[in-house]
């Protein structure tokens, strides 16, 4: 089974990577976005059980103080229908080297989990604000993803 793990910055802390992206959007003179939140994403596949995925998310992938995590089966997305929110996921294309995933494989072994598994890393952006489809697509292809090496999914 594949699990998708999303790491969320707790609301009481600054989502500085999201803020950084917002400033990039502003610096391109694109208006309409009020806030950006960023979450790292991971998909773990192989023989990993749900409990093991939870340990990996809690002890390794998230920071106990500033972050929380959510685990879902891989193809599910939370269904939020808000007119002011867009969500975009960005993943490396096949055969593009994902260096972080190699480090995670080592770290999971250190946790005492010795099963074979695969992991891939991605990014999720929450964009708040009223923007047209065309602008959303421009932000996505010009800023959030480098379409040469990354693919993206506009979830909403």
């Amino acid at each position: 089974m594949n699990f998708k793990i999303e790491i969320l910055t707790k609301k009481c802390f600054e989502n500085s990577r999201g803020k950084n992206m917002l400033s990039k959007i502003y610096s391109m003179h694109i208006n309409g976005i009020k806030k950006v939140e960023y979450s790292p994403l991971y998909v773990i596949g192989g023989n990993i059980s749900f409990d093991e995925a939870r340990i990996i998310a809690a002890d390794l992938l998230s920071d106990k103080i500033t972050e929380t995590y959510a685990i879902a089966e891989s193809d599910q997305h939370c269904k939020i229908s808000s007119p002011i929110l867009s969500m975009i996921e960005v993943w490396y294309k096949k055969n593009v080297t994902d260096t972080v995933s190699e480090s995670i494989i080592k770290a999971v072994k250190d946790l005492g989990i010795s099963k074979k598994f695969k992991i891939k890393t991605g990014h999720k952006y929450y964009l708040y604000g009223r923007i047209s489809k065309a602008v959303l697509s421009r932000i996505t292809t010009k800023l959030l993803a480098n379409t040469l090496i990354q693919e993206y999914k506009i979830i909403k």
Binding site: D59, L60, I65, S103, K106
Partner: protein
């Protein structure tokens, strides 16, 4: 006279090990860079040393988050001996990435608890920053590392994740009550600084903390980059030659002697 022995723990991505070694050696110690795998193989080797140093760098690329993978590895494979070393009262220092590792495995603020209760998170600016800042030495600190220093010194910082965040407000009170806050970012004249002199937005401008006993120091600034006056942007220092960072290493070496 006995030669003080320092273990500088390194792993893939450690990169401030040489200058840390030089800093201790300049203070008369014998400092050795040891790869973590060697220590995992022969754990008890650690007790041959008087001082333990976790230098700066990007351990395992700081993949996931800074210091995360190394703290996880140390806690799972060396946790017991590092704790024992700490409880023996010997000096331990974690600089930058070392501090991040300490906080994430829970060696600081209290090795008795040995659980993560604080964090070093992304700078408010959202990017890596390399600059010199002023730090104020807290008057009541019990740290053995910061004696014989003027009230305010300047030191370089270079990090992307240095914003100190406690689990809750109560922890800040405890740290303050136990005199565990060692250094705070400061303006030149000792006032509360604004960005960029406050480089990351830490709670209470905290730049360094210690355990209640004062033998363990974790700090974001890099004292090992200020051994000589020449390293200072304005070439300031003491005895017309040395930088104030040297005193920090000297204190630990003298403490062991």
């Amino acid at each position: 006279m006995k030669k003080v022995k320092v273990l500088i723990l390194r792993t893939a991505g450690t990169n401030c090990d040489y200058e840390t070694q030089m800093a201790f050696e300049l203070c008369g110690a014998f400092a050795e860079r040891v790869h973590i795998d060697i220590l995992i193989e022969k754990k008890n080797k650690i007790f041959k040393y008087d001082i333990l140093a976790f230098p700066g760098g990007f351990s395992y690329g700081d993949d996931i988050a800074s210091g995360k993978i190394l703290s996880n590895e140390i806690k799972n494979k060396l946790g017991d001996i590092v704790k024992k070393f700490a409880m023996s009262g010997r000096p331990i220092i974690g600089i930058c990435n070392g501090f991040q590792v300490f906080v994430k495995m829970g060696l600081l603020p209290d090795p008795n608890v040995f659980e993560q209760v604080s964090s070093l998170y992304y700078n408010d600016s959202g990017r890596f920053e390399c600059r010199w800042v002023y730090v104020k030495i807290e008057k009541k600190t019990r740290s053995i590392w910061v004696k014989n220093l003027p009230e305010i010194i300047s030191l370089p910082v270079a990090h992307g994740e240095g914003k100190f965040i406690p689990k809750n407000k109560n922890l800040l009170k405890v740290l303050s009550k136990n005199n565990q806050i060692v250094l705070k970012y400061s303006s030149k004249d000792g006032n509360i600084p604004k960005y960029p002199l406050d480089p990351n937005g830490s709670s209470e401008q905290i730049a360094a903390i210690s355990n209640p006993e004062g033998n363990i120091l974790g700090l974001m600034p890099h004292p090992e980059r200020y051994i000589f006056a020449l390293q200072h942007p304005n070439r300031e220092g003491f005895d017309s030659k040395y930088g104030w960072g040297k005193i920090i290493f000297q204190n630990a070496v003298d403490f062991v002697k």
